[in-house]
C-alpha cells in the first residue's frame, strides 16, 4: 500500500466507524426517549455508503433516502449538526426541521435525503443535468433501496439520465427488504442490476459488505459519468441489522438467524481484517475507534446542550422570505 492508499483506507475505516458508533448511540438514546419520531438506522450497510462516497470528489453531489444517517457521514459530514438534528435542535443540520429521515448536509454535496421512496432518483438526474449545463464537471450519485426500484420515479429518473447521458451514478443498496417485504416478493428479477437493461445502461453488481469493492465499482461508474459516458447502475448487496425503523408500528418478522449470518460478514470487521492483513497496526485502528468515540460523544453533548428552535422558525424556509406569523402563535 502507498501512503495515499493507506490514508484512504483508514479514512474509510474512520467513516464506517463514525456511522456505526453514531447509530449505536442513536438507538440507545432513542430507546431512552431522547429522540422523537421514528429512527431508520444504517448499521450493516456502512461499506455501501462509505465505499460509494469515497469514490466521489468532495464537490460531487449525492442524494439519499429515509435511511439517512449513513449517507452524509459517508460523504464527510460533521457529526455535531447531525446529532443535533436527531434531537430536533436549532443547531441541527436542518435546524431541527428534518429529523432522522432527512439528515442532508448540503455543505458536503448532499442534495436531500428524501423519505418518499424513490423520490430522490429524478432529483439526482436533475442535479446531473444542472452539472452538465453549468459545465462544472460534477457527478451526482443517488442512493436508493431495492424496494424503491418498484416506483415510477425510479424508472423515470433512470430513463432521463440514460437518454440525456447525464453524469449520474445510481447506487441501489439492496438490503433484501422493503420494511417487512423481501425483495423477491416484489422485484421479479434476480438482481436489481438487470433493470439497467431497460435503459441501455451499464450495471455493476458488487459485494456491499466490502468497502474496497464498492469503492472500485463506484469509481468506475464515476469515471464513466465524468467523462461523458453517462449513467451506471451499481447494485450493492448489503443488509441492515435493525428493524426497518424503530417506533414506526410493529414489524413482526423474525430475521434472527439471517442477521447472525450477515454479521459474520460485518463490513467493519471485514475492513479491519483487510487493513491488518495489509500491515496496518492494530493500535492505529484502535486509535481511530477511540477518536470516533470521542467525536460521537462530543456530538451528543453538543446536541443535548443546544437550544430548540423558536416557534417563529416554523415559518422560516417555506420560502426564501419568512412567512407572516399568524396571530395564534405566541399570543
Amino acid at each position: 500500500m502507498t501512503d495515499q492508499q493507506n490514508d484512504r483506507s483508514l479514512e474509510k475505516y474512520r467513516r464506517m466507524q463514525r456511522i456505526r458508533q453514531f447509530e449505536d448511540l442513536a438507538e440507545a438514546i432513542h430507546a431512552a426517549g431522547e429522540i422523537p419520531g421514528a429512527l431508520h438506522t444504517y448499521a450493516g450497510q456502512e461499506a455501501s455508503g462509505v465505499g460509494a462516497c469515497m469514490a466521489l470528489a468532495d464537490s460531487d453531489y449525492m442524494v439519499g433516502t429515509h435511511r439517512s444517517h449513513g449517507h452524509p457521514i459517508a460523504k464527510g459530514a460533521k457529526l455535531r449538526p447531525l446529532m443535533a438534528e436527531l434531537l430536533g435542535k436549532a443547531t441541527g443540520v436542518c435546524k431541527g426541521k428534518g429529523g432522522s429521515m432527512h439528515m442532508s448536509d448540503f455543505s458536503v454535496g448532499s442534495l436531500g435525503e428524501t423519505s418518499i421512496v424513490g423520490s430522490g432518483v429524478p432529483v439526482a438526474a436533475g442535479a446531473a443535468l444542472g452539472s452538465k449545463l453549468l459545465g462544472n464537471g460534477r457527478v451526482a450519485l443517488c442512493f436508493f433501496g431495492d424496494g424503491a426500484t418498484n416506483e415510477g420515479a425510479f424508472h423515470e429518473g433512470m430513463n432521463l439520465a440514460a437518454v440525456w447521458r447525464l453524469p449520474t451514478v445510481f447506487v441501489c443498496e439492496n438490503n433484501g427488504y422493503a420494511v417487512s417485504t423481501p425483495a423477491h416478493a416484489t422485484v421479479p428479477v434476480k438482481d436489481i442490476a438487470e433493470r439497467a437493461k431497460a435503459y441501455n445502461m451499464p450495471a455493476i453488481i458488487v459485494d456491499g459488505q466490502d468497502v474496497d469493492a464498492v469503492e472500485a465499482a463506484v469509481s468506475e461508474a464515476v469515471e464513466r459519468a465524468r467523462t461523458g459516458g453517462g449513467p451506471t447502475l451499481v447494485e450493492t448487496k448489503t443488509y441492515r441489522y435493525a428493524d426497518h425503523a424503530v417506533n414506526m408500528g410493529r414489524i413482526l418478522l423474525d430475521r434472527g438467524a439471517e442477521v447472525d449470518e450477515w454479521r459474520k460478514r460485518d463490513p467493519l470487521t471485514l475492513h479491519r481484517a483487510a487493513l491488518l492483513a495489509a500491515g496496518v497496526a492494530a493500535a492505529t485502528l484502535d486509535t481511530i475507534e477511540q477518536e470516533v468515540a470521542a467525536e460521537v460523544a462530543d456530538a451528543i453533548e453538543f446536541a443535548r446542550s443546544s437550544p430548540y428552535p423558536t416557534q417563529e422558525e416554523a415559518f422560516d424556509d417555506v420560502f426564501v422570505e419568512r412567512l407572516p406569523i399568524p396571530d395564534f402563535i405566541n399570543g
Binding site: 422523537p36 419520531g37 418498484n150 416484489t186 416554523a314 417555506v318
Partner: protein
C-alpha cells in the same frame, strides 16, 4: 357491543366485509406483517390471494384497484400514510375519479383507498400530510373522515359496500380512541350524513377528523364559562351534509370551522364559504377558521404542536365570536 379502538374498528370493518363478500380483497405495502394492526390475522383468515403485499408502487397498485373494481371485485387499498397518495394522483384523479363519467356510466368503481393522517408526532413535512381537501376539488371521489371508532366502523363498512370510489382518511390522533362497537354485521353509517356530536345554542363548531375531539374538549371548557357550543361533525366531506351544517348555524347564529389541514383551500375554508353564502342572514359574527398554519410541519417536537388546532385555540375563537355581540341580521 364491546369497547374497542379506532384501529380495531378498521380491522373489524374489513374483517366483516371480507367475510361477507368474497369479492372484497385488500392490498397494500406490508399488510401481511401489518404495521398498524388493522389486518391482524387476515392472511390466516383469507389467504394470500385476498391479502396482498404490494411492491412500493402506489400508482401501480391503486390503478390496479381501479381495473380490478371495473371487472367485478371490490378492492380495499391500504395506502398506509396519506403522504403516499401523491405518487398515485395520476390514477386517483385521472382514472378513479373520472372513469365512470368519461365512459358515460359504463363502469362502476367500487373501491376504497384507506390512508392515515400521520401528523403530530415528529414525522416531518414529507410524512405529516392532511390532504383530503385536494381531493374534494376533484368530482367523483367520495371522502370520509371519521373521528370516532364507532363512526369508523360503520362508515368503512358502508364505504366497502358503496359502488363508488371512496377515500377513507384515518386520523392517527384518533387511533387509540375507543367506542362501543356494534356487532351487527349490517351496522352501517350512510356516507354523506353528518352528526351533531354535542348540542349547543350559542355557536356551531364544525370540526373535521381529529378536530372533533378537540372541539368537544373546547365545548366542555366553554360550557364552564357559560357558552353553549354545538359541535357538528360532517364525518364525510363528499358528499357533505350541508343541510346539517346550515341548520346548526341557523340555530346558533355563529360558526367556527376547525380543520387539522393547512388552512388555505381546506375543508374548513370550504365549509366557511358555504356558511357565508347560504346562512349569512342568520350570522351574528364572522365565520372563524381554526386550522393548521400554512407552513410545513417541522420535525422538532418543540415547534410542531403549536401549529395545529387545539382546544385552546378553539376556545379563544369562540370567546372572541361571542363577545362581538352582533345582532342577528334577519
Amino acid at each position: 357491543m364491546a369497547k374497542a379502538t379506532f384501529l380495531e374498528a378498521i380491522r373489524q370493518a374489513q374483517m366483516e366485509e371480507m367475510q361477507r363478500d368474497p369479492t372484497v380483497f385488500i392490498m397494500g405495502e406490508d399488510i401481511i406483517c401489518n404495521v398498524f394492526g388493522t389486518t391482524t390475522g387476515f392472511v390466516d383468515a383469507f389467504g394470500i390471494e385476498r391479502v396482498r403485499d404490494t411492491p412500493i408502487s402506489e400508482n401501480g397498485f391503486i390503478g390496479a384497484a381501479a381495473g380490478a373494481a371495473m371487472v367485478g371485485t371490490r378492492p380495499i387499498v391500504d395506502a398506509t400514510i396519506s403522504s403516499f397518495l401523491y405518487p398515485a394522483m395520476d390514477q386517483i384523479v385521472s382514472i378513479i375519479a373520472k372513469s365512470r363519467y368519461i365512459y358515460g356510466g359504463q363502469p362502476r368503481l367500487p373501491l376504497v383507498i384507506r390512508s392515515c393522517l400521520f401528523y403530530g408526532n415528529s414525522n416531518a413535512a414529507q410524512h405529516s400530510d392532511r390532504n383530503y381537501s385536494m381531493f374534494m376539488n376533484i368530482p367523483g371521489l367520495k371522502i370520509i373522515v371519521p373521528a370516532t371508532a364507532y363512526d369508523m366502523k360503520g362508515m368503512l363498512k358502508a364505504a366497502i359496500r358503496d359502488d363508488d370510489p371512496v377515500l377513507c382518511f384515518e386520523d392517527s390522533t384518533c387511533w387509540t380512541a375507543k367506542s362501543d362497537l356494534p356487532d351487527d354485521p349490517d351496522f352501517l353509517i350512510p356516507l354523506g350524513r353528518g352528526e351533531i356530536k354535542r348540542e349547543g345554542s350559542d355557536l356551531s363548531i364544525i370540526a373535521v377528523a381529529g378536530a372533533v375531539p378537540l372541539a368537544l374538549k373546547a365545548a366542555e371548557a366553554l360550557a364552564a364559562e357559560g357558552i353553549s357550543a354545538e359541535v357538528v361533525d360532517p364525518r364525510s366531506l363528499v358528499p357533505l351534509d350541508t343541510a346539517l351544517i346550515l341548520k346548526s348555524v341557523r340555530k346558533t347564529g355563529r360558526a367556527i370551522t376547525v380543520d387539522p389541514a393547512h388552512q388555505t383551500c381546506s375543508a374548513g375554508s370550504e365549509i366557511a364559504a358555504l356558511v357565508a353564502e347560504r346562512a349569512f342572514d342568520a350570522l351574528r359574527g364572522p365565520v372563524l377558521r381554526v386550522a393548521t398554519a400554512d407552513t410545513h410541519l417541522p420535525f422538532s417536537p418543540a415547534i410542531e404542536k403549536a401549529l395545529y388546532p387545539s382546544p385552546e385555540r378553539i376556545v379563544a375563537a369562540a370567546r372572541r365570536l361571542v363577545a362581538a355581540h352582533e345582532p342577528a341580521i334577519a
